[in-house]
Symmetry: C2
DNA sequence: GTCAGGGCTCCCCCAGGGGGAGGGTCAAAG
DNA sequence: CTTTGACCCTCCCCCTGGGGGAGCCCTGAC
């Protein structure tokens, strides 16, 4: 009786290991053309070779088996392209993160890392034009851009001039739960209301403040310095973190020139 | 009693999860400054924050914990740079593979994939100047370049002209075990011997032959077509695979113009 | 009929975590 | 000084995408 290729033959043709082929069978990714009901032997057909090779490519791209199965099950070319595009976008993201980590690592390992200076300062109440939302940490950058644009438009429409650099308030849970409240604002004496933009009052507070220099890839280092300062001075953190974009993407295209003031509201403990 | 930061405090400062910190402790990557022998409570110091951040960067680069520990334990800056450089090289490799997979995937998913033509042909005995070695599949490309260069020099020194395009012989175990015998050769009437270069006779054989067009990123597709052809014509493979580089990197910088002839020595089975 | 090579299932292992159970501790508030 | 709630501990199972190996059955060429 002439059956298809044994799993070993198929393995040699596709360069997928026998184990991997069995796993793909189990996962419903690549069902053998025929399975002998008595012996359990898997038999593949030569027509399945191209499918196996497509799977191999997707795996080389790190696509999870679930998604590969989804892609293969999707007949509609548009939907298929969308699934693939989504994964390619993820790859891009990952690449960006890798790039950021490389540059930031280089900076961290440089012998002459200047110590980060932290100072304690009392900030008065400020009125601002703000947009607030609950966001995921991942989408923070995109959200920030849109919100800032909207505030700019609102100020422009109202003919108002900012009284200081833009900034943001970030709830601490954003950093522990990857999701939380965020406010982006521009200080202005008499804030307008338009669309998502609303007047907002930032309360006075005692702040532990430092200035982060350069792109935000390694901003956690400055956060770490603040953490060190706060604990060493037996202070505690109260309320959302403040960032002031002294020099930011609106001012220069060179991220190395960016200056970000980070302020942690603190209070003294009996420690 | 004033002890260091609890694991929760340290987690908030470094943005590493509590679980992850415990794992790093267990792995000897980041030992807490103090561990209470009675309660098992871990206490960290603010001086450990920078270390934690360096670890975070390495992890974002996908460096295994073992290697991070190694890097942190290495005091000598040169040795340290070497370790890091090795990992960055691996990242580059991975990036190349990803790029290759993307282009190859695009090709595979293009609607108009021309069917691959396979023909059966008898190849006569050929004398060649060859370099042979047992290699890993991964290092095949680098090895190939060096060997080919050596053959070129030997022919040039001896004042000989190749009688055909260069080629290679690859034992089947190379593709199943990732390691095996390989021969790279240039056909020539009267082969010289110099260094690793030796005369060699490629035996006559009946070949199933196809021509692969373009870069080698998706050469396994052509191999798959050969596999399909061979099994559908109830043939069997005997001996190492042959590749002839009709148009290769020596001829053009445009990989899309490459032409690689792949020949599988076959014999008829009773099927 | 024999026998090697190859197929089958099942279980354990890896990294680098996440989730949760069950129980002990710490520190601020009453 | 006790309570209480937040925090910490260990231990176990889960995930993905495989690899290694044990123990047993099947196939096919001679």
């Amino acid at each position: 009786m002439h059956r298809g290729l044994t799993i070993g033959d198929f393995s040699r043709i596709t360069h997928l290991s026998v184990r991997t082929l069995r796993r793909y069978h189990e996962a419903g990714l690549l069902e053998p053309e025929e399975v002998d009901p008595y012996t359990g032997y898997r038999y593949y057909s030569t027509a399945q070779v191209p499918t196996a090779q497509v799977i191999r490519r997707f795996r080389e791209l790190g696509m999870p088996l679930r998604e590969i199965r989804e892609v293969l099950a999707t007949a509609d070319p548009d939907a298929r392209a969308a699934l693939i595009g989504r994964h390619l976008a993820r790859l891009e993201d990952e690449l960006d993160r890798t790039r950021a980590a490389v540059t930031s690592l280089r900076r961290l390992l440089e012998p002459a890392v200047p110590p980060i200076e932290v100072e304690l300062r009392v900030e008065p109440t400020t009125t601002v034009a703000a947009v607030r939302a609950t966001i995921d940490l991942k989408e923070a950058n995109a959200w920030y851009g849109g919100a800032m644009e909207e505030i700019d438009r609102a100020l422009h429409t109202a003919g108002l001039t900012p009284s200081g650099p833009p900034g943001g308030l970030y709830g601490n849970e954003l950093f522990t739960e990857e999701r939380g409240d965020a406010v982006v604002f521009v200080p202005v004496a008499d804030p307008p209301a338009a669309g998502r933009v609303h007047p907002f009052v930032i309360p006075a507070a005692e702040l532990a403040v430092t200035v982060h220099r350069g792109p935000h890839d390694d901003i956690d280092v400055s956060y770490g310095a603040l953490g060190t300062y706060v604990t060493e001075h037996t202070l505690a953190v109260a309320g959302p973190v403040r960032e002031n974009y002294l020099v930011g993407p609106r001012d220069t295209d060179n991220p190395d020139a960016w200056r970000t003031e980070i302020g942690w509201p603190v209070f003294r403990t009996t420690g």
